[in-house]
Symmetry: C2
């Protein structure tokens, strides 16, 4: 039923090693021979067996995605993007949700290498921004790509896909300012996420540039969750001099803010503007639909995966660089402002 490399070799009238050379795109195979083999592969619907490859070869054909993110949409987008890249090159993806609080990732990483012989990993926040994890990955000799907020790329740009949160947050804030808002509240995401700092920076920068004094009262700590959005917004709106707009660090928090406003009988966007960040599907399913910044997670993931795969299959850094150039892999993304219905002119 299922054909092996032997079948192909027999059919093509060559040795199995030559077949191996062809399917791995190695040099030193005469074009005529290559064609013979490829024909045989075609006819037999031959597909190399992954287990055998992993076992025999020095390199492996599986990569892992490491994440700890309550946002299902984010995770799914990542998975699908990576899966696309993997499929195109015959790789397999192991998904690995982990717990960033529990400090077991490093052990899990090691197990992943020894047990499943993973070749590379895609790291998402917060792991991608945790030094001990990065160190471990390097120690294990894994190829890796970190999806990070721009600030966290430091001297490791080659291994990073950056999301420029500050630039996007700047745009968002500017959008609010242009609508006459002067008192703009900011709902922070979790401290441990670099992204929330980047977003805050962009917010501050836009205010400063517009000559608006930054009021610390308007910046409230929190985490990337609906509930945090509810309480943070309440906190802001109960102040003596409440803001006319709220910048929530992600869509979930923005949904929370919307909820709080609703509770307090505040009309959106007539009395209060609210913006989110990320363009989660549900930012389109709230009332009113959320103004937000579109973060192309699927695209980001695809690039990240392409990057690891290029590394995994190349021997030298130069070779990797060349492959990357060819593939047109983007390494920096700026989420784009998406104006919907939750923002409008300042009431004052």
């Amino acid at each position: 039923m299922k054909s092996t490399i032997n079948d192909v070799a027999a059919r093509a009238g060559v040795s199995i090693k030559t077949v191996s050379r062809v399917i791995n795109n190695e040099p030193s195979v005469r074009p005529a021979t290559r064609k013979k083999v490829m024909d045989a592969v075609e006819e037999l619907h031959y597909q190399p067996n992954l287990a055998a490859r992993n076992l025999a070869g020095t390199r492996s054909y599986t990569i892992a995605l490491i994440y700890d993110n309550p946002n299902a949409y984010y995770v799914i987008d990542m998975q699908n993007g990576i899966l696309e890249a993997c499929k195109a090159r015959g790789y397999e993806l192991l998904i690995h949700p982990s717990n960033s609080k529990s400090d077991t990732v490093n052990d899990e990483l090691r197990a992943l290498v020894e047990h499943s012989k993973v070749a590379g990993v895609v790291l998402t926040p917060p792991f991608s921004e945790t030094q001990s994890v990065i160190d471990e990955v390097r120690k294990l000799g894994l190829d890796y790509v970190r999806i990070v907020s721009s600030g966290a790329a430091e001297g490791d740009e080659d291994n990073c896909i950056q999301v420029d949160d500050a630039a996007a947050a700047y745009d968002i804030t500017k959008h609010l300012i242009e609508h006459g808002h002067k008192r703009i509240g900011f709902l922070c995401g979790g401290e441990e996420h670099i992204s929330t700092h980047g977003r805050l920076d962009g917010y501050k920068q836009a205010l400063q540039q517009a000559g608006i004094t930054i009021d610390p009262e308007l910046i409230v700590p929190g985490e990337y969750s609906f509930d945090s959005g509810v309480s943070g917004a309440k906190h802001l709106l109960e102040q003596d001099n409440p803001p006319t707009a709220i910048f929530a660090s992600n869509d979930e928090m923005a949904a929370g803010a919307l909820f709080a406003a609703r509770l307090m009988h505040i009309e959106i966007p007539a009395q209060l503007s609210i913006v989110g960040f990320e363009d989660s599907p549900f930012s389109r399913q709230t009332w009113p639909k959320l103004t937000t910044a579109h973060q192309p997670n699927n695209e980001i993931a695809k690039c990240a995966a392409a990057l690891v795969l290029n590394k995994a299959r190349s021997k030298s850094a130069a070779e990797t660089a060349a492959a990357n150039k060819d593939a047109g892999i983007m390494k920096k993304f700026v989420p784009e402002l998406l104006v919907r219905d939750s923002t409008g002119d300042s009431p004052t």
Copy 2:
């Protein structure tokens, strides 16, 4: 660095075959020997190499999850549940999103077997309810579990985890009836999903039992999406004699209904009650929070995975049955009514 079965054998002073026996829990190993080996395993942190196992053995150590569901929360819940079961037994999970419209699943299934030597699959709707897919899986000799709406289990109960949509829908409808609602609209999910039929049946049954005539005008076709919920609800609410409650086939549709109501300045739940189904996280993030039926997807997935794994590792059906009994695997789930804020007394 990484230890192999040889290292363990050397350390324990036995042959590798004996080590193999121990780690596979095979009989015919003297307790003393077993202990020696287990100690060595412990000391060396030995973990069998998956690629080698897959290559050498007749059975494999990976299963796949096949799905095509736009609901990220559903998918993530499934993945996590299965992953848990897999981890506990040293299995690996391959996720396989596919396209139910394109008819390529069967080929993909075959590739999964030949290429990655998958031992079993967990099928979710709509694949779990598509005969051609089930046939292919059987033909390939795969162990499988289908997660299905009760109606679709027919003579294949042993391979099914059932969700009793009808029973849950009955409960939901009854809840509405008890609040005095007599005209209850029903927003159907996609025709191709058995679940939507089950839910509709439960709805009808509850009405009949309460002596309420079923009005076909109140049953509107649609699909499991937000937009469908919006348009379906609009359609209902624009009728001359609009319903006082709407039963949406899932939470997303319910959110859409909420949105439509908002558009038409209808107060929820004062003027209109709305219920969803599934208890997606976002059913808690709408205003008002949705009354729905809690579907324990994570639990369902765990049971499904446990079921395939038991099959995969057992030789005989009897053995499988025994293993299942031990594990206390539940095979039928009834989503439970969860009353929140979107339902109330009928205004009339």
